[in-house]
C-alpha cells in the first residue's frame, strides 16, 4: 500500500511538473496513429518526424534556441478521435499548437474549419483537401509538396512516356482501383477530365475499407483487360491488391500506385507478387542521406529513438516522416526570421508556412539533397511543389526509375480554383487578395 501511495504521489508531482512549461518552447502536437489497419504508415511517419525533431533539439539545441516539444495522441485514423486529439492539444505549450499534421484526409476535412477558427495551421503533406492549394480561400490549410490531383497528372504523364507519347494514350484503358473513402475518391474528377483530354477510358472501382477482400474487384479488372491500373490504396489494401493482381495474372509493372501505396510495408507482405510494381513518391527511400545519418548519430546512438525496429529507418514512411519534420522546422525557422527567436503562435507560423522556401541549396545544407523536392509556397499556391518521382519495387527495395516529374499545372490549377471558388461561395468566404499580403 505504501509503495502504491508513493507511486501515486510521484504521479501527481509529475503531473504538476508537466504543467509548468519552461517558457522557451515551441509545441508541436503529434496527432497520429500507432494501432489499427493503418499503423504501418502512422508509426513510420510520426516516428520519422519525432526523431527529426529530437535530432534538431540534440544537435542545434532547437530552432533559434527555442526547444521543440511534442505530445502524442492516438487517433486510430478515426475522425472523431482526431478532432478530440486536436482539441486536447491545440492550447498546449506556451503559445499553443504550432501546426497540426492530421495524417488522414478525413481528419483534415474535419479540422479545416476548426483550424481556421482557432488560428492553427493545418498542414497536410501529400493528402487532404486538394482545392485547399488555393491559399486565397484556405489561408490556414497547407497541402504542401504535392496534392492528389498534381500527382495524378504526373502519373498519366508517366504512363504516356511509357506508351511513347501522350498522343498514344488515345483508346487506352485505365482502371482506377480506389479506397472507398474521401481519400480514395479525391482523384476521380481529375482522372475523368484527363480521360476526356487524352481520349483514354477510365473505370473507377471502389474497394470498401479496410480493403482486405478484393477478389471481385480483380475479377472485374480481368474482364476489362486494362492497359494500366492505378492503385489508390492505403494500408492493408495494398498488399491484398498486389496479391489479387497476381492471382488474375495482371502484370505488376502495369500497376501504378499513389504514394500511400508505395512503401516497404505495402510490398513486403505481398512477397513475390509485388515484384515490378511501380509507385509514385514525393520522397525517396534510403538511409545514406546526411540527415538520416545525423538522426542515427544524435538520437539512436544515445539509445533513444522512436522506431522499435531500427531497420525501418530509411524506409519510405520513415523518410516521409523526416520530410514532415523538415517542413515543420523550416516553417518555424522562417517565422522566427520575422517575429524573433521566441515561441511563436499558430498565426505567426502560418506566415512562416506561407512564405516558406526550401531551395536546392537549403536542402543540401539540411543534408537532404535529392531526398525531397525543393519547395516554394506562396499566398496563391499552398502546394509549393507538385513533382513526384516514380520508383519500382525490385523484390528487395524501392528503386527510383525517373527524375522529378512535374504535374500538368494547366489542367490542375483551373480545377483547383473552380473547386475552391465553389467552397468559398458555399461558406460565404471572400477570397483574400494576395497582392495585399505581406
Amino acid at each position: 500500500m505504501k509503495s502504491f501511495t508513493k507511486a501515486l504521489l510521484g504521479l501527481a508531482m509529475l503531473g504538476a511538473a508537466a504543467t509548468t512549461h519552461a517558457q522557451n518552447e515551441q509545441f508541436v502536437p503529434m496527432v497520429g496513429y500507432w494501432v489499427g489497419p493503418y499503423a504501418a504508415g502512422g508509426s513510420g511517419i510520426f516516428g520519422g518526424m519525432i526523431d527529426y525533431i529530437n535530432m534538431v533539439n540534440a544537435r542545434d539545441g532547437g530552432v533559434g534556441g527555442v526547444k521543440l516539444t511534442y505530445e502524442k495522441c492516438e487517433t486510430e485514423y478515426n475522425n472523431a478521435r482526431g478532432v478530440e486529439c486536436y482539441e486536447r492539444l491545440k492550447k498546449k505549450g506556451p503559445t499553443g499548437a504550432t501546426l497540426v499534421h492530421p495524417l488522414s484526409t478525413g481528419i483534415t476535412y474535419s479540422l479545416i474549419e476548426k483550424g481556421t477558427q482557432d488560428k492553427v495551421p493545418i498542414v497536410s503533406i501529400g493528402y487532404g483537401r486538394t482545392d485547399a492549394s488555393d491559399g486565397r480561400v484556405f489561408p490556414w490549410v497547407f497541402p504542401l509538396l504535392t496534392n492528389y490531383w498534381s500527382q495524378n497528372t504526373a502519373k498519366i504523364k508517366f504512363i504516356g512516356s511509357k506508351e511513347g507519347g501522350m498522343d498514344k494514350l488515345k483508346g487506352k484503358k485505365i482502371v482506377n482501383i480506389y479506397h472507398d473513402s474521401a481519400y480514395g475518391k479525391e482523384t476521380i474528377p481529375v482522372l475523368d477530365a484527363q480521360a476526356k483530354k487524352y481520349g483514354f477510358t477510365v473505370t473507377h472501382i471502389p474497394v470498401p475499407h479496410p480493403g482486405n477482400e478484393q477478389g471481385a474487384q480483380w475479377l472485374q479488372v480481368r474482364q476489362i483487360k486494362p492497359d494500366w491500373v492505378i492503385l489508390r490504396g492505403w494500408g492493408v489494401m495494398n498488399p491484398v491488391a498486389l496479391k489479387g493482381a497476381a492471382k488474375v495474372g495482371f502484370p505488376r509493372d502495369r500497376i501504378i500506385g499513389v504514394w500511400w501505396s508505395g512503401a516497404e510495408e505495402d510490398t513486403i507482405p505481398a512477397g513475390d507478387a509485388a515484384k515490378g510494381y511501380i509507385a509514385a513518391g514525393f520522397n525517396v527511400a534510403g538511409s545514406n542521406f546526411p540527415v538520416i545519418q545525423d538522426i542515427k548519430k544524435y538520437v539512436y546512438a544515445k539509445g533513444k529513438g522512436e522506431m522499435e525496429d531500427p531497420t525501418r529507418i530509411g524506409s519510405i514512411y520513415y523518410n516521409r516522416g523526416v520530410v514532415h519534420g523538415i517542413v515543420t522546422v523550416e516553417a518555424i525557422r522562417k517565422a522566427q526570421e520575422k517575429y524573433g527567436k521566441k515561441p511563436l503562435t499558430g498565426e505567426q507560423i502560418r506566415w512562416g508556412l506561407e512564405n516558406l522556401t526550401i531551395s536546392e541549396a537549403r536542402l543540401k545544407e539540411l543534408g537532404a539533397a535529392g531526398f525531397m523536392q525543393p519547395l516554394k509556397v506562396s499566398c496563391l499556391d499552398h502546394e509549393g511543389g507538385g513533382a513526384v518521382k516514380f520508383q519500382q519495387w525490385d523484390g528487395k527495395e524501392w528503386k527510383v526509375i525517373t527524375d522529378w516529374i512535374t504535374p500538368d499545372r494547366d489542367l490542375v490549377r483551373p480545377m483547383i480554383e473552380q473547386s475552391a471558388a465553389g467552397y468559398a461561395k458555399e461558406k460565404n468566404i471572400t477570397p483574400r487578395d494576395c497582392s495585399k499580403e505581406s
Binding site: 504521479l11 503531473g15 494501432v35 475522425n79 482539441e87 476535412y109 475518391k185 522499435e308
Partner: protein, 358 residues
C-alpha cells in the same frame, strides 16, 4: 435516510403518474439539468465542451434510439450508424436545398427521413427475429453507406463525398461557439430523452415490452405486432437520425458516408449493452463509458509511462489502451450482466435502506 419516499403521499392520478415518482429523484434530475445547462458552460473549457461533452450527448442520443428498438422492443439492430447517416445527410440536404429553412425544422425532417428508412428496413422484423433480424439490419448499414457514396446528389456532388455542414442559425443567432453548440445539443438531447422516458411508460412502450418478452402472447392479448414493431423501428431511427444530424452539425462539421460505418453501429450497440438494455439512464452511462474511457486511457497513458519511469516502445501504449478497454468491458459485464444502469439501481436500493439495512 436521505433517499426515502416515506411521507410522500400521492393524492391525484397526475402525481401518481409523474416520470420521477420520488421527490428526491425530481430534485436530483432538476439539479442535474441546472448543472448541465448553467454551470457546465460557465466552468468547462473549450476542450471539454467541444471534444468530450458534445459527442457524449450525441452518442447518448443514438444509444437511446437503439435502446428503444433493442432494449424495449427486443429487435436487434446493427444499422444504427446507417440511420445516423441518413439523418446527417438529410439535414444537410434540407438546409442546402430549401432556402431559409429553420435548422430545427430541418432536424425534424431529417428525423422523419431516418424514420422512413427505418420502417423500410424494419419490414423483415415482421417475419424474422433475433440474430436473423440483425443480419437484415446489417443490410441497411451497407446499403445506406453505399447509396450515399454512389449517388453524388446526396453530397451535392462533392468530389470526395464529404459534406460540410452548414452553420447552425436559430432566429438569426448563429451558434458557432463550443458552448453554443453544447447547449444546442444538450437542449435537443434533454427534450428527446425526457420524451423517450415518458414514451416507454406509455401504452406504446408497454406494447413494445410485451412484444419483446413474448410476441405470441402479446398478439393474443390484442397488441398488433406489425404496428408495434414498425413504430419501434420508426421512433428508434428518428432518434438515431437526429443524433446523426447533430454529429454532423454540432460536432464534426464535416462527415463522409464512410464515417458511419459498421464500427460505429457496433459502438452504439456496446453502449446499450454496457449501459443497460432497456434503460434510458443506461444509454447515458454506456455512452459515457465507451466515449470517455478511451480518451481517459489515452490521457493517462503518458502520465503512467513517465510516472513509473519506464521507456515503453512507441505504439505499445496505444495497444495497451485497447487491451485495457477490452478488459474493462469484460469486467463490467462479468460483475453486472445487466449493465451499469443495474448497478445504479442496486445502489439506489441500498441507499434507501441506509443507514439501517435491517
Amino acid at each position: 435516510m436521505l433517499y426515502r419516499e416515506a411521507g410522500q403521499f400521492k393524492a391525484s392520478y397526475a402525481e401518481d403518474q409523474q416520470i420521477f415518482a420520488i421527490r428526491q429523484d425530481r430534485i436530483a434530475v432538476g439539479a442535474l439539468l441546472v448543472f448541465a445547462f448553467v454551470v457546465v458552460p460557465l466552468v468547462a473549457n473549450q476542450y471539454w465542451l467541444s471534444a468530450i461533452l458534445t459527442p457524449l450527448l450525441i452518442f447518448a442520443l443514438a444509444a437511446i434510439g437503439l435502446n428503444i428498438l433493442t432494449g424495449y422492443a427486443g429487435q436487434l439492430s446493427l444499422g444504427t450508424a446507417a440511420f445516423m447517416a441518413v439523418g446527417a445527410f438529410a439535414a444537410y440536404n434540407f438546409v442546402l436545398r430549401v432556402p431559409g429553412i429553420p435548422i430545427l425544422v430541418a432536424f425534424v425532417l431529417a428525423g422523419i427521413c431516418a424514420a422512413l428508412v427505418g420502417i423500410l428496413f424494419g419490414l423483415p422484423s415482421l417475419r424474422i427475429k433475433g440474430f436473423y433480424l440483425a443480419v437484415a439490419t446489417l443490410a441497411a448499414q451497407f446499403f445506406v453507406v453505399w447509396a450515399l457514396t454512389k449517388f453524388g446528389w446526396f453530397s451535392n456532388n462533392s468530389s470526395s463525398g464529404v459534406i460540410s455542414a452548414q452553420k447552425i442559425e436559430i432566429l438569426g443567432y448563429t451558434v458557432d461557439t463550443p458552448a453554443g453548440k453544447y447547449l444546442f445539443t444538450l437542449t435537443i438531447v434533454a427534450v428527446l430523452a425526457l420524451a423517450a422516458k415518458n414514451l416507454v411508460r406509455s401504452s406504446t412502450g408497454r406494447a413494445w415490452m410485451a412484444v419483446r418478452d413474448m410476441d405470441v402472447a402479446a398478439s393474443v392479448i390484442g397488441i398488433r405486432l406489425m404496428q408495434t414493431k414498425l413504430s419501434a423501428f420508426a421512433i428508434s431511427s428518428a432518434y438515431c437520425g437526429v443524433a446523426g444530424a447533430l454529429y454532423a452539425f454540432a460536432y464534426l462539421g464535416t462527415v463522409e458516408p464512410e464515417g458511419f460505418n459498421l464500427d460505429m453501429s457496433f459502438r452504439v450497440l456496446f453502449m446499450v449493452i454496457i449501459g443497460g438494455v432497456g434503460s434510458i439512464l443506461g444509454s447515458f452511462l454506456g455512452a459515457a463509458f465507451i466515449v470517455l474511457l478511451p480518451i481517459f486511457l489515452n490521457t493517462a497513458a503518458p502520465l503512467i509511462e513517465h510516472g513509473l519511469g519506464l521507456q515503453m516502445p512507441p505504439g505499445f501504449m496505444s495497444n495497451l489502451e485497447l487491451i485495457v478497454f477490452g478488459a474493462l468491458i469484460v469486467f463490467f459485464l462479468a460483475v453486472e450482466p445487466h449493465g451499469l444502469a443495474r448497478l445504479w439501481q442496486i445502489g439506489k436500493e441500498k441507499l434507501r435502506l441506509w443507514p439501517f439495512p435491517h
